[in-house]
């Protein structure tokens, strides 16, 4: 019994450590991409197209003779900057609206939560597809489209937390001592919301990288010749039979990112969420 309990705790910690290491690798690659890429990711060399992975081009080259390794590394910049922007704006919007909704209650709460319900009823990818078709393709529109959906998840969590804390004795005490609503939200509710939000945000980065790759694959996000992973897979699918490495390596990069950030998020949740810790302890 005792040994088993220890094992559970350890495994959870490993997930966090692996997640941190992998995510750190991705972030570092993103920052130092221009120094790591051996070739210019958009330079075409038609005499060198469809070269299978070899010593010179470790991921091979594509149908226009571009080095896939350089493109995958540069692509991390596109994916990660989009994901970070989306997470930042969805969290900012979701947390503020969610806290207001939960703390104020009444009409404001009803209005905000009905909007959230409607948006949650759509599958994200379908809604983003519809929005991108309406607003046109391109990276900015992709960011707007995904943010429009993604903020609802933050709003729900922030609302739940605000609702729970609203009647906590220390929040009422803080009100009785003269804090205004804005001060209560900032000083008392926000610090409790933020730890939950960090968990969701790190999980979300993986998800958004996937969404954004899917939308680019469908031709709605970044446009060629931008070295976006979704675009690269989309280009590679036509040559799947004789140059499978064209789609394989960007695909692996997406999987790697999704895995890394999911592990980070899972690990953080186990670390920060006291309810889960309780479950582990009583096991």
């Amino acid at each position: 019994m005792r040994r088993q309990r220890k094992k559970i705790v350890n495994r959870k910690n490993y997930i966090l450590y692996i997640g941190i290491v992998l995510s750190a690798v991705i972030v570092l690659v993103t920052i130092f991409a221009p120094f790591l890429a051996p070739c210019d990711p958009t330079k075409m060399e038609l005499s060198q197209k469809f070269i299978a992975p070899c010593r010179e081009f470790i991921f091979g080259t594509d149908h226009l003779g571009r080095d896939i390794f350089s493109r995958v590394i540069e692509g991390s910049r596109v994916s990660l900057s989009v994901a970070a922007t989306v997470v930042f704006f969805s969290a900012a919007l979701g947390v503020s609206l969610g806290m207001i909704s939960g703390y104020m209650g009444g009409t404001a709460d009803m209005l905000i939560m009905r909007v959230v319900d409607v948006l949650l009823a759509f599958p994200t990818i379908i809604f983003a597809l519809a929005l991108s078709t309406m607003m046109g393709t391109g990276q900015t529109n992709l960011i707007v489209a995904i943010t429009c959906i993604q903020w609802t998840r933050y709003a729900r969590i922030a609302r739940g937390e605000a609702l729970m804390l609203k009647h906590a004795e220390y929040v009422e005490a803080a009100r009785s001592i003269g804090n205004s609503t804005v001060q209560i939200l900032g000083k008392y509710i926000f610090p409790n919301v933020i730890s939950k939000i960090i968990i969701l945000a790190s999980l979300d980065i993986g998800t958004i990288i996937l969404y954004c790759a899917s939308l680019s694959f469908l031709g709605l996000g970044a446009q060629p010749p931008s070295p976006d992973w979704g675009v690269m897979i989309s280009e590679g699918k036509d040559y799947m039979q004789y140059a499978p490495w064209m789609a394989l390596f960007p695909g692996l990069a997406i999987a790697f990112c999704a895995l890394a950030f999911n592990m980070l998020g899972d690990g953080l949740r186990d670390l920060l969420d006291p309810r889960l810790k309780e479950v582990v302890r009583t096991d």
Binding site: Y170, E172, I177, G178, Q183, K187, Y188, P191
Partner: protein, 254 residues
């Protein structure tokens, strides 16, 4: 000073609000300045709902609350900011009164910062002075609420409430979570504040001995209604309502 007339709070639930619960029903009483007014009642009798309405945390369904001529039910946010300085609270769970992630110093500095009380004397000196009055030394300043005892926390809560020089202190079962020796300490502290600064109090408790020890007048609450009001001698010596008699005889047996 504080006048409550025909105050009610009804919770409705279900389709079209057809299930109703009267938490507080047609309650009227007055508290005069400098007086300690007791409120007795078992749990669920609506005592806390009543205090939450006085504090503006809950909108009453009907009735009036008047504090020094001002209608509290209709007061706006700015008026409340001024009113809060005059009406302060002491809560039941002392350790839950403070921000769990902030230390004692922060808790005590809040009213000073919010009401800019540090015009003539520095924030630090004010806190030192106000905590010394309740016997909390400087080495406790940087502790967190969970690191101090319930009695200490309640003393700090009282010091913090009194730092705003309120005219009315609403004590919602301030001693029920503390053990007997600490209870006496807290009661002495409250009585001293009443004598020295003439703070009026609404003192809520289900402990008849405590009520008898500190209050001048008392009201008995049962199922959301006030069934009897009077001085301590009247209510305890010659109870008129059935419920009060039952309450007193149950207390005698114990």
């Amino acid at each position: 000073m504080l006048e409550i007339s025909h105050l009610s709070k009804t919770y409705t639930s279900g389709f079209l609000g057809n299930r109703r619960v009267d938490a507080v029903k047609d309650v009227s009483f007055q508290i005069h300045s400098g007086e300690i007014f007791g409120l007795i009642g078992e749990s669920g009798s609506g005592k806390t709902t009543l205090t939450r309405m006085i504090g503006g945390f809950l909108k009453p369904s009907s009735g009036e609350i008047t504090f020094e001529g001002k209608n509290l039910v209709k007061a706006n946010a700015r008026e409340w900011h001024q009113l809060r300085q005059q009406i302060q609270f002491v809560f039941q769970h002392p350790q839950l009164t403070f921000h769990p992630r902030r230390n004692i110093y922060f808790a005590c500095a809040e009213p000073i910062r919010l009401y800019h009380l540090d015009r003539h004397i520095s924030e630090k000196d004010m806190i030192r002075h106000m905590l010394r009055r309740v016997g909390i030394s400087e080495d406790q300043w940087h502790k967190y609420p969970h690191e101090i005892s319930g009695g200490q926390a309640q003393r700090i809560a009282i010091a913090r409430a009194l730092s705003l020089n309120p005219k009315l202190l609403i004590c919602d079962e301030p001693t029920s979570m503390l053990d007997v020796s600490v209870q006496a300490q807290i009661l002495r502290l409250l009585l001293r504040a009443n004598e020295k600064y003439h703070v009026a109090m609404l003192f809520i408790s289900h402990d008849l001995d405590v009520i008898r020890a500190v209050c001048q007048r008392v009201a008995v609450m049962h199922k959301g209604e006030i069934v009897e009001t009077g001085t301590i001698e009247e209510v305890f010596g010659n109870p008129k309502h059935e419920y009060t008699k039952k309450l007193l005889s149950a207390h005698m047996e114990v």
